[in-house]
């Protein structure tokens, strides 16, 4: 599904990713862990097509298609979804209208008509129920004044609506209490299938207890310094990152 080869990326002249290699196949869940500042959010932003970051070298392909020329919206149309570590507040645009606009934009890109209002409403209701989101919440301005947990739940609601092929969840667990974490994990698991894939970025084992990864990678200083299976996450939880850093240096 996703292939990242020897990826180098910089922002404002500062090199952040230094040779990332990653292969994610359909049906897989990958976890990316690593200390703060190691480049996890940068990697997800680069995959999603954020123009603030400059790809210096390497390639990203989705189902064999090179993404380098694609804008963020085109990548979204091809099935890439990023759940933001820090979702942006957009006063004046309601959650409902935002998601309607997004869905119909993707449909338009695929040559489809707007989703009929009735289907849209039904879809919104179902997905909101899945994430136990109150309907009042949907008529509020996007992320404005949302608690940390509400923002993250709203990100997964959008994911549920957009049904991406590749979802990257950047620290979706931070700001969630244990009940909300379970709801979000349940939502993600419901959406999982053999045809899509998920990359979970997290510091903690607790999310991985619910969304169980097939592979775990440790990012340090812009490189993947260790990969393994879910046991690696347990090891990191017990030992911290210091031994990884030493291993890398």
């Amino acid at each position: 599904m996703l292939t990242v080869k020897n990826l180098y990326a910089s922002v404002e002249g500062k090199e952040i990713l230094r040779g990332i290699n990653l292969q994610v196949n359909p049906g897989e869940v990958h976890a990316i862990m690593g200390p703060n500042g190691s480049g996890k959010s940068t990697l997800s932003a680069v995959i999603a097509g954020n123009e603030d970051y400059l790809v210096e070298k390497g390639e990203i392909t989705l189902n064999g298609e090179d993404l380098s020329e694609d804008d963020a919206e085109q990548r979204a149309h091809k099935g890439v979804f990023l759940s933001f570590q820090y979702p942006v507040e957009i006063p004046g645009v309601t959650v409902t209208n935002f998601i309607k606009t997004a869905i119909n934009a993707s449909r338009k890109a695929k040559g489809l008509e707007d989703m009929p209002a009735k289907d849209m409403l039904k879809n919104i209701r179902e997905k909101a129920a899945l994430l136990e989101i109150d309907s009042k919440f949907l008529s509020r301005s996007l992320n404005e004044g949302f608690s940390g947990g509400e923002k993250k739940r709203n990100e997964i609601f959008q994911m549920a609506m957009l049904e991406p092929k590749l979802a990257i969840l950047d620290e979706t667990d931070s700001g969630l209490d244990i009940d909300a974490l379970k709801i979000v994990a349940h939502g993600v698991n419901k959406l999982k299938s053999k045809d899509n894939a998920v990359i979970v970025i997290t510091h903690y084992q607790r999310l991985l207890d619910h969304i169980v990864p097939d592979f775990v990678h440790v990012l340090h200083n812009g490189r993947i310094v260790k990969s393994g299976t879910k046991e690696l996450a347990h090891e990191l939880e017990a030992k911290g990152y210091d031994w990884i850093k030493q291993l890398a240096d």
Binding site: H77, V88, I90, P91
Partner: protein
């Protein structure tokens, strides 16, 4: 002959159409002298530093309408608020159109300035109010006064709540070439009375039209007036709107100005507070592009204690458009406990667009709360990426964000039909498709 000379020399011909015994005729002639002395403002005047009339004044305007043009309701219906019941005062090329209008004398007077100036029963009201707050030292106001003949006359009597909004609509057609229109409106709202007014100027085909309008609004004790102006005219239409508002104690007056189209728009909006516990609200949304020019020049005079004023102007400028905002707040020495707020936030969509924004505070009382803030920015990059990462194309994302930026000004619009109308105009203007709940 330049326009000034033409105006002065046309005055005698104009007088032939008038009833010279009218109590206000003296004002016309003295105002003409005033205009003759002052001339049109130029960029040398501080208040006109960023807005030049020079190009417009080169047109060979006809000064008063010569013949009537007939238009059919079905062709112009879309310019009205048509989905709610309203009173209407409609003019075509400056001439009253009884056919398109719906006036009344039932409990309130919604009629014509021309009849108010000629009939005895209006004399007391005219004498008491006409030309009493319009600035005699403003040349364009003086020009309007000297050619006063027609406009809207609205009188809401004590404790009456006008049950329908009133629309004042000015259409212009190209039938008579370049045209100067000078409507003169008087709105008197007595104690405890309430009224909502909607004003629009619309040319029906591309032609040079310059409107120099003067409106005087009087709000007595505890009166409530909400005024909505839509400036969404064709590319060759320009307007100078001079509005003067005098408020007595506990009255609330709001003026919303929506400037979306036209060649040059200048709004001189003046509020004079003459009592305590007054609330004055001035809001505006400007969305322009190409070479359009919109200038908001506001003044609020706080003369008495315990009053408030709220100004919130948003501007979105594309291409080579130019915006100007100059907001003056004057607080008299005795006007303690004044709360005066002013905001002017702008987004420049292109490097070629400009905005000149300037607050002017003259505060002579010491116990006042006065805040002002001007911002000029581009669209937030993170917000753009957020929208695009959800599949919303760049152009639409821009539209949605600018829409959201402007939209909150509409919160204070009390008539739902106006709110949804403006909402749609904004969405069209910005190329976004919106659901009605946005």
């Amino acid at each position: 002959m330049d326009l000034k000379e033409k105006l002065i020399s046309s005055f005698m011909a104009f007088e032939e159409q008038l009833d010279l015994s009218s109590p206000i005729h003296e004002m016309r002639t003295s105002s003409l002298k005033q205009f003759e002395k002052l001339g049109f403002p130029t960029k040398k005047h501080e208040a006109w530093k960023y807005t030049s009339l020079a190009k417009l004044l080169k047109n060979d305007y006809s000064i008063f309408p010569k013949k009537e043009t007939v238009i059919e309701l079905k062709d112009v219906k879309k310019y009205f608020l048509y989905d709610i019941d309203t009173y209407k005062i409609v003019f075509i090329d400056g001439i009253y159109s009884p056919f398109l209008s719906d006036t009344t004398h039932d409990g309130i007077d919604v009629c014509l300035m021309s009849s108010a100036l000629s009939k005895d029963k209006y004399k007391a009201t005219i004498d008491k109010h006409f030309n009493t707050i319009a600035n005699q030292n403003d040349s364009l106001t003086a020009l309007n006064t000297s050619f006063t003949k027609e406009g809207a006359y609205i009188h809401i009597f004590k404790s009456v709540v006008a049950e329908k909004p009133i629309q004042i609509i000015h259409f212009s057609t190209s039938d008579q070439g370049p045209m100067l229109l000078q409507p003169r409106n008087l709105i008197v709202v007595e104690e405890n009375a309430q009224v909502q007014i909607f004003e629009r100027h619309q040319s029906l085909n591309q032609h040079q039209v310059l409107t120099n309008s003067v409106t005087e609004i009087f709000a007595s004790e505890n009166a409530l007036v909400d005024y909505y102006k839509v400036q969404n005219d064709l590319d060759d239409a320009s307007i100078i709107d001079n509005t003067y508002v005098a408020q007595k104690a506990k009255s609330h007056v709001s003026v919303h100005t929506f400037s979306f189209g036209g060649q040059l728009i200048r709004n001189n909006l003046n509020f004079f507070q003459k009592g305590e516990y007054i609330d004055s609200t001035m809001k505006g949304i400007t969305i322009i592009g190409e070479k359009q020019h919109v200038d908001h020049y506001t003044l609020v005079e706080h003369a008495q204690p315990n009053c408030e004023s709220h100004q919130d102007y948003k501007g979105i400028y594309a291409d080579k458009s130019v915006g100007v905002f100059n907001g003056k707040i004057y607080v008299n020495q005795i006007a303690q406990k004044t709360n005066a707020f002013q905001k002017n936030n702008n987004i420049l969509l292109d490097d070629t667009a400009t905005i000149n924004t300037k607050p002017q505070l003259e505060i002579f009382a010491d116990d006042v709360k006065c805040s002002h803030g001007c911002t000029i920015g581009q669209l937030d990059k993170d917000a753009m990426f957020y929208l695009r990462s959800r599949g919303i194309p760049k152009k639409e994302a821009k539209g949605l964000l600018t829409y959201a930026f402007a939209n909150n000004v509409l919160e204070s619009v009390k008539i739902p039909a106006i709110k949804s109308r403006i909402n749609k105009l904004i969405a069209n203007k910005l190329g976004v498709s919106i659901g009605h709940d946005l």
